[in-house]
Symmetry: C2
Subunit: 420 residues, 2 copies
C-alpha cells in the first residue's frame, strides 16, 4: 500500500507536513504492512481507502461508529442543526435536551457536562474528584488508558514527574491491590478511576466483574472518595446505561465519548448529585464544547439506542463473528483467545508471544476485505448484517488458510521491535 | 430574560441537569442581566435567541465566527465531506491538504498537527517544548489565558500545586520580567508561551510589540528554549500568518483554534523544523482529531481567507465601529478606552472601576439589538456590513442616551461581587 499507490503518495506528502506523517491512535505505525493510512469514504459498516479498496470495518473509527457511518437519521439531525446554527455565542436548547436524555438513560447520573475529547471528560472527572473534598490522590489501574494528557498519557515523553505526582496505581480487577492503594492514599484519597473491565492493547480483555465493582464502591464509600467509571470506549456497547449497571454498581462520575454522537465530536462527564457542587466549582471549557450540531447528532443517536434493538443487534453480530472465528480456528488448527464483551471483541492467537501469527492473519484478512486489529479490541456496529459477518468469515477463512501455509516462515512484526 | 420566557424555562430545566445550569466561557453568569443564555439560530453576523430576539453579534461565538455563521461555501464543504465520511478508522486526504495549506500560509511553520480544543494545541506545545531537550520549565504571562487544563486553568479549584510546579510567570510585554523569569528557569528552560499581545478580560488590550517580540525571540535562542505563540484567539484576525509575523518575529511553535474552520471543531499546533523531532516523539490523540468534515471546513475557510479581502473587511468593520463609538462617547460625555487590534475590539469605560457603566451600557445596547461584552474583547466578522455597524451604533447611541439618564443611580454589577 506504500509504493505506486495513492495512499503511498499521501503518506509521502504527509511526512513533509506532519511529524512522522501521522500521530495518535489512528496511525498505522503499529499495524501490519498493507494497512492503508488514508480513507476516501465510509458508509454503514464499510470503509473505502484512497486506492478504492473496500473493507468491512471492525475498528469502527476506534469506537465512534455505533450505528453505521453516515447513519441517515443522525446525519439529517446534524445537518439541520448546522443550518440553523452550530457554534454560536451560546448553546442551543439541544444542550438541555441532551443533558436530560443522558440523565434519563444513565441510572447513576443526575447531571451532565459536555466536552469534545474523551480525555476532556476524564480530566474533568479528576479535577471534580479533587474539588469535591479538597483531596489530591487519584487511583488508576496500571496500564489502563484514560486519555493522552500529561497526567494520563501512556507515553511519558515530555511529561514531568509532577504531572503524575498524586497518582497511585493498582492492578485492575484486583481488590487487594486496590485496597492497598486506597490505604496509601489515606485521607488524601480523592477519586478512583476504573474502566468497566480490563481493555488493554495486546492483552486479553475481561468482562465487568461484580465482586470487584462492589468492592471498589465500598472502598470509595468508606474513604469518602468518588468512584469514576471511564466508559469512553465501552459506553453504549455494553449497556443502555453505565457499563457497571450490568453488575449492579453505580459510580459517582462516569466519562463518555466516542459513540454518543455516532462519530460527531462530543464527549460527556455525567455525575451523581454528590458530585454536583464540586463540578459546579471547577472551571472547564473549550471553544466548541457548546456547539449545537454534534449535540443534535447525539440526541438522535440516543433516541435510536433507546428505541431500537441496535445494542442487541451489535452484540449478536459480535457473537456471530466470535462463533465463526472459533470454528475456523479449530478447523485450521490454531488456538484463538476471544475475550471481552461480544460488541468489543478482542482476538489474540495462542502460542503467539511476539504476535507474528496475529499480524500475518490480520494482514491476510485485510487483503481479503476485512479490516481487523491484531493488538486492539475491535468494535461491532448496528449497520453490520449477517452477510457482513459471512463476508468477514470468508476473509478470515482465507487468512487462516494462508497462515497454515506460511506459519513456519513468519518473522516477528518489525513494527513491534521498539516494544520488545 | 428569566421570567415568562423560553430562555427562562430552559435555564430552569438546565439547572436540574447541568451544574449551575451552565459552565465555561459561554455561561452568562458574569454578563449583565438580560443576556440570553440559549440561542435558536445564527446567520451571517446575527444570532437569534430562543425568544425570537435578534442581535448583531460582536462576540462571534467568542471567536470562531470569522466569515459569518453558516457561511455557504464552508457549510457546503463540510456537508459534502460528512456524506463521504467524517470520523473514520483513518484520516482522509483532506488532512494532508489542510496541513499543506497551513504550512503554506504560516511563515514559521514546517509542519502541522490537528486537534479539537485550543487547549489541546497549547498542551501539545508544552509537552513538545519539554520533549525537545528534556527540560521542564515553562514561562507564561501572569494572568494570560492558555486554556482550562489543570496546568493552565485560571481557576485553581481541583488543581494541585504539582500541576503548575514548573511554570514560571512573567509580566506580559515586560522584557525585564521575562529575562528574570528565564534566569530563574536556568538550564531547565523548555519553552516560553506568549499571546501576540495582551488580551485579558476586564483590562485594556495592547497590540503586538516588536521590541518585546524580538527580545522574547533572543531570550529563547540564547537559552535553547522554544518560543510558542498562542494564536488561538487572535489567529487570522491580525494577519494571514502568525500574528507576530506583523512584527517580524517567528516562533518555533504556534497554537491555533477557534476560527480556522469558521466554527467547525478543529484546532492545530504548527511548528518549525527545529521542533519536528520532539513533536514526533510525544503521544497525543483524541477520538475525533482525525475527522474529515471539520478539516474540509477548515480547508475552505483558509481558501477564503487567502483569496478574498475578508481580513481587510473585518478590520475595516472593526475600525468603523471604533470610530463611531469614539464619536458617540464624546458626544454623550463618556470616556471610552478602545484597545487592541480593530478586528478584536475591547471597549472599557473611563472612570468605571467597578464596571457599572460598562455593564449598564451593554445591557441597554443588548435591548436595542447589539450583543456586546462589557469585560471580554469582542470580534468582528467578514459577514458584517456597513449597515450592521450603523445598526449597532443606533443601539449603542440609545444605550449612551439611557446611560446619561441613569448613571447616577447605577449600582455595581452584582455578577462581579465574587470578583471584587
Amino acid at each position: 500500500m506504500t509504493a505506486n499507490s495513492k495512499d503511498g503518495d499521501l503518506r509521502e506528502r504527509a511526512r513533509r507536513v506532519i511529524p512522522n506523517g501521522m500521530y495518535g491512535h489512528e496511525s498505522t505505525a503499529r499495524l501490519p504492512e498493507g494497512y492503508p493510512q488514508f480513507f476516501a469514504s465510509g458508509e454503514g459498516a464499510r470503509i473505502r481507502d484512497v486506492d478504492g479498496a473496500e473493507y468491512i470495518d471492525w475498528m469502527c473509527a476506534y469506537g465512534p461508529n455505533l450505528l453505521g457511518y453516515g447513519q441517515p437519521d443522525v446525519l439529517a439531525a446534524v445537518e439541520a442543526q448546522q443550518r440553523r446554527g452550530d457554534t454560536l455565542t451560546g448553546p442551543g436548547p439541544v444542550m438541555v435536551e441532551l443533558a436530560e436524555a443522558m440523565v434519563d438513560m444513565v441510572s447513576h447520573a443526575d447531571w451532565a457536562m459536555f466536552c469534545k475529547n474523551g480525555g476532556d471528560a476524564t480530566s474533568m472527572a479528576m479535577v471534580t474528584a479533587r474539588a469535591h473534598r479538597g483531596r489530591r490522590k487519584i487511583l488508576v489501574g496500571t496500564g489502563a488508558y484514560h486519555g493522552a494528557s500529561p497526567w494520563n498519557t501512556p507515553v511519558k515523553v515530555g511529561v514531568t514527574e509532577e504531572d503524575r505526582a498524586h497518582l497511585i496505581q493498582f492492578e485492575e480487577g484486583d481488590l487487594d491491590s486496590l485496597a492497598d492503594a486506597a490505604r496509601r492514599a489515606g485521607d488524601d484519597f480523592a477519586g478512583l478511576f476504573v474502566t468497566p473491565y480490563r481493555m488493554r492493547t495486546f492483552m486479553d480483555q475481561t468482562e465487568p466483574d461484580a465482586e470487584f465493582a462492589r468492592g471498589a464502591r465500598r472502598i470509595c464509600d468508606e474513604a469518602g472518595a468518588l468512584l469514576i467509571v471511564d466508559d469512553v470506549r465501552s459506553g453504549l456497547r455494553v449497556a443502555r446505561d453505565c457499563s457497571w449497571e450490568t453488575v449492579g454498581v453505580r459510580p459517582d462520575l462516569s466519562c463518555w465519548g466516542k459513540v454518543i454522537g455516532n462519530g460527531q465530536p462530543i464527549s460527556a462527564l455525567l455525575g451523581a448529585d454528590i458530585a454536583r457542587e464540586a463540578a459546579g466549582k471547577i472551571f472547564v471549557t473549550g471553544s466548541f464544547w457548546f456547539s449545537a450540531a454534534p449535540m443534535a447528532g447525539a440526541l438522535e443517536t440516543l433516541r435510536i439506542v433507546r428505541e431500537t434493538d441496535c445494542l442487541e443487534r451489535l452484540t449478536a453480530i459480535g457473537e456471530a463473528l466470535r462463533a465463526g472465528l472459533a470454528a475456523q480456528s479449530e478447523a485450521f488448527g490454531f488456538g484463538l483467545r476471544q475475550t471481552g464483551p461480544a460488541a468489543l471483541p478482542m482476538v489474540l492467537f495462542e502460542d503467539d508471544p511476539d504476535f507474528r501469527l496475529g499480524y500475518a492473519w490480520c494482514a491476510a484478512a485485510l487483503r481479503a476485505g476485512a479490516y481487523l486489529s491484531p493488538y486492539h479490541n475491535m468494535f461491532s456496529n448496528a449497520a453490520m448484517t449477517e452477510a457482513d459477518v459471512t463476508r468477514t468469515l470468508e476473509a478470515t477463512g482465507a487468512a487462516f488458510e494462508e497462515l497454515r501455509r506460511t506459519r513456519e516462515s513468519l518473522l516477528p512484526p518489525p513494527q513491534l521491535a521498539p516494544r520488545a
